[in-house]
Symmetry: C2
Subunit: 440 residues, 2 copies
Amino acid sequence: MEEVEEVYTGSRAAEMEVVGGEACMGSPGHSLKEMLGMVRADLDRTVNFWLRNSHDLQCGGFFTCLGEDGHMYDDTKYTWLQSRQVWMYARLYNELDRFRTAEMLEAAVNGGQFVMSHVKRPDGTWKCYFSLTRQGQPLRTQRTLFAECFYMLAMAELFRATGDQKYRGEAVNMLNQIVHWARQDDSALGRERLSGQTGVSTLAVPMMLLYLTQELTTTMGDPSLTAQYEDAQQWCVTEILKHVQRGGSVVLENVSADGQELPGSAGRLVNPGHAIEAGWFLLRRVQATQDSSLQQVALSTFITASFRRGWDPQHGGLFSFLDVDDESPVQLEWDMKLWWPHCETLVALLMGYSVTKDAQLLRQFSTVFDYVYSHFVDKKQGEWYGYLNRRGDITHRFKGGPWKGFFHVPRCLLMCETMLEKLVSENTQQPSTPVTPTME
Amino acid sequence: MEEVEEVYTGSRAAEMEVVGGEACMGSPGHSLKEMLGMVRADLDRTVNFWLRNSHDLQCGGFFTCLGEDGHMYDDTKYTWLQSRQVWMYARLYNELDRFRTAEMLEAAVNGGQFVMSHVKRPDGTWKCYFSLTRQGQPLRTQRTLFAECFYMLAMAELFRATGDQKYRGEAVNMLNQIVHWARQDDSALGRERLSGQTGVSTLAVPMMLLYLTQELTTTMGDPSLTAQYEDAQQWCVTEILKHVQRGGSVVLENVSADGQELPGSAGRLVNPGHAIEAGWFLLRRVQATQDSSLQQVALSTFITASFRRGWDPQHGGLFSFLDVDDESPVQLEWDMKLWWPHCETLVALLMGYSVTKDAQLLRQFSTVFDYVYSHFVDKKQGEWYGYLNRRGDITHRFKGGPWKGFFHVPRCLLMCETMLEKLVSENTQQPSTPVTPTME
């Protein structure tokens, strides 16, 4: 059994002699300039990791189950991750000069070819498969709309990168279908309606739809699309705000269709990373609408209150799930520290600071930044580990898996690099002065 | 955040100043007589916990989401757990004199009434729902056959307890339907066949079917049924043995239909608790057939090899999942210590010892027993905690949840009490001499 030990139980936190929250509190923090340099280098390492290890030159598409050194340990092609990787390559090509290369465009277009050929069902329903064989044959479907959302994102960003109308058509048609499923009738998704079910509003659906419509409107800057999806965006914001409960102190993951609390574990569920992600989606909405009251609720409730509630005061890091009444959450991973909530929190806190220049948000950003760079980031081999236990020890040594691909980490790093660059150039905070971390 | 700390993070292992495997190795162990007394008291506490806290006197059926003190935190009725609780009450009534009471029979029959009224779909398909509202209205279905398996178990044991033919008819009809789904055609379960899928033999289906047929044949002792299901039992054993790979050194959870290893994480997956549970199902088969080569593979491969591979040498306890090639498992809970694999291991090792009188099996039993009674068991409030992290700290403070009800713990305690009683009365091992634990 010694081999198992060696493979699975190394504690990077222990190696570095920093443990969780306390270490962050005692840390002097990094300056904006230092953080910018670290993020830029990390993004380069991350992009190289996937360019080098994930391309299936034989069958097309991407391997996403990659060990810590990049070796492929499973060739299943999870379609969320296929589409997200296409989106990410195209996004990097569209947004950062150093990635506006033929290699990046080719990676996006080739991946898009695999996605268009294999992910969408050939039966005209616009439903997508959830997983495929290496060769692209369908393995599984889900009775949800998320595979379709990521398909649409890939097509929209490919259109931005290439100007090819076929991608725009795919994106718009898929989005219209998703809006129909989300707002009118989701029976085609295959979930049977049963008599005990009452209407539940999950946070995931309106927040995802808000993000998708923002991509087609704000990001692409097409006035005709902006008008077309304004009503859908307003609906999304209304639905998202239904999840604010208990006097603005908490964002609940599931509420009734009319915005009331639901009984049971599902009704009391708090997903801090999800609420914080919704927070920065709302801040993007505010950039388009200048709605100051929406900015206030995004910052104070979705981002700050969720960060304070979700941050583990003992070991640092964000809990994955909590119960608002302090019952024991039923999710097995409730106390694990996962990579993606930390990505979303970095983006949200830095976006909040960029908008308000509230130094407290920057100090909270510094706390999360310190935790991330002492726990998740693998500076040697590239990319981040994805799963830590409550104490911050790495529990899963892979860099990519069925749910972790080329998406949250590089999206976070791209957005943070862009925001940090602007802050450094604005020179409002002394860019060479360390930012003292805080959890408050 | 202090409240969250207090609610979620108490470490019972730390309180007791014993930590995992090392403590077990240094422990003098308990004698058979002591273990019998501890198990008997534990079974009484467990039964009382559920009798006192779980009965829904208003709507029928059982609350299964119960906190550590027994309070109900969610009233959803998960049908696996409803049917299992009926089976368990009837089983206790049928097998142990002190539980052959009117109260126990009434609990089983009343629960059976709720199950018959609400769990099976009213459309004649013999499909069952997966979860219900408190009032019994359907909430969710699964595209598998397990809710149906537990329905059948409940009906079979109710027939043993009451002699009422209506239960026998339900059990036999449901079992015939399950055999059809498992062996002929499972398209009615609702899973779409997709072109990338190849035939996969999961360990769960044949082992569950072997257990069900044993209940109707060996347990009920009906010669007509024994003949009727002999072919199905042989098929189950053949299917289960396909999962033995690599020269008998490992039981893999998923293999191809013709018994070959599959690629990827699913193909390399080891679930030690599941393999050990299959081991004691096979030993029950041997009791009926006297097949000594099957006894050998059940003991050496399913039970002993799985125990040695699955036991955490650093902290003690059984891992939930492993990868046979030491890749990082992708399951979030792979390194967590869950209650049910420990229940199955206690049963399997004690059954193995009872059959062979191999002292090594009894010493391994003593190791697991020490771990269980220093980590899972709540002597004060009754029942076991269900979920520990790798180090043995309790992570989920409830006693019942969506997957943990009145089943694995009392089934284990009932079987261990019966076997320990027999061993003590046989006097082959000095019943008052401590059994030294070992992990070897």
